[in-house]
Symmetry: C2
Subunit: 199 residues, 2 copies
């Protein structure tokens, strides 16, 4: 029988690996991140990585699953009295802030290879579907509130929300150093909800 201590150590190490992968995926993207990087960041031997995750693809998938689960949690934690529209706005704002702090985007748009493998990863798909369902409901509700355009299909809007989290505009603005993170988030939210045209 395994001692509770060992189990706990394993869980903590797994979290540490996911934290490292999260940071490195955010910084370099999937293709440029190496398993050596991850091992070094965690401070463990590379072989130990493979005790927890059987492949680089699985590690990335697990990192995405944790992100989706956190996103669902975030959604659940919003004040209940907010309108659906306000909730969507808060969610996007949260995701953009996370991204600016070095977090990973909600879409694996940086790598075709990763995308392919995720499409056959059951836990990933399950987690994604669950988040999708929650967001689709919110978008529908916001349409019913008269706050979102009915001309745009719900799945388009949901996808567009995900896409905002991997919008290279974020990095370009941040790299340019002319804008504070606050301003970037405000511009992104305004442009997404109101468009670039004059009201």
């Amino acid at each position: 029988m395994v001692t509770p201590y060992r189990v706990k150590q394993l869980q903590m190490r797994e979290e540490a690996i996911l934290d490292a992968a999260h940071v490195l995926l955010g910084k370099y993207g999937y293709d440029a991140m190496t398993m050596d990087d991850v091992a070094a960041e965690v401070g463990i031997a590379k072989a130990s990585l493979y005790k927890h995750f059987e492949s680089k693809e699985k590690l990335a998938a697990s990192t995405m699953v944790r992100l989706f689960d956190r996103t669902v949690d975030q959604l659940a934690a919003l004040p209940a009295n907010l309108s659906a529209y306000e909730k969507l706005r808060k969610m996007l704002e949260w995701a953009l802030r996370e991204r600016l702090r070095g977090g990973i985007p909600h879409l694996p748009s940086t790598s075709t290879t990763l995308e392919q493998s995720l499409m056959t990863d059951e836990p990933y798909l399950a987690s994604l579907l669950s988040l999708n369902a929650a967001l689709s409901l919110l978008v529908e509700a916001a349409k019913n509130e008269g706050k979102l355009s009915r001309a745009l299909p719900t799945d388009y809007i949901v996808t567009a929300i995900y896409a905002r989290t991997c919008d290279p505009t974020l990095e370009y603005m941040q790299r340019g150093k002319n804008y504070r993170d606050e301003e970037i988030v405000t511009h992104m939210l305004d442009a997404f909800f109101m468009g670039v045209s004059k009201a």
Copy 2:
């Protein structure tokens, strides 16, 4: 002295290589595209590729330069009587259609490695700057027409236009098969200019 015939053959082959790279970059992205793929697509030996382009990075950079130059041409070809706002809309529409037909995005957002090397590629930077200048002028003009929001900085809007051409929403909607390319373009344009909110 080299015969004109030979020169012409060389130019045609160079175009063919760029065409192949354009298609493959659009389909697989920079990292997943191999030089063997390119050679096979063109139907020439790999060594011959290197007669024209000294490296994969240079090949990608040249492909981007050609895209930027074509974009500038496209801009110049627009009817002179259009407003700046209408020109911007037409340009984005053109870029989105190209992308849906398998073209490459205007930002190298698919690869950190490529991005790094492009940042030190003189011809690439020159071409990008030239397009940037043209687009910035248009955006400013559209603001003066009262058509674009003054709350959003010009460089933000310009970057956001580029970013629309590599928006994964495009591929997701196209992959889903529920929408015709026409509809996707319309939704993208509406969402970009008017936002997702109810007018």
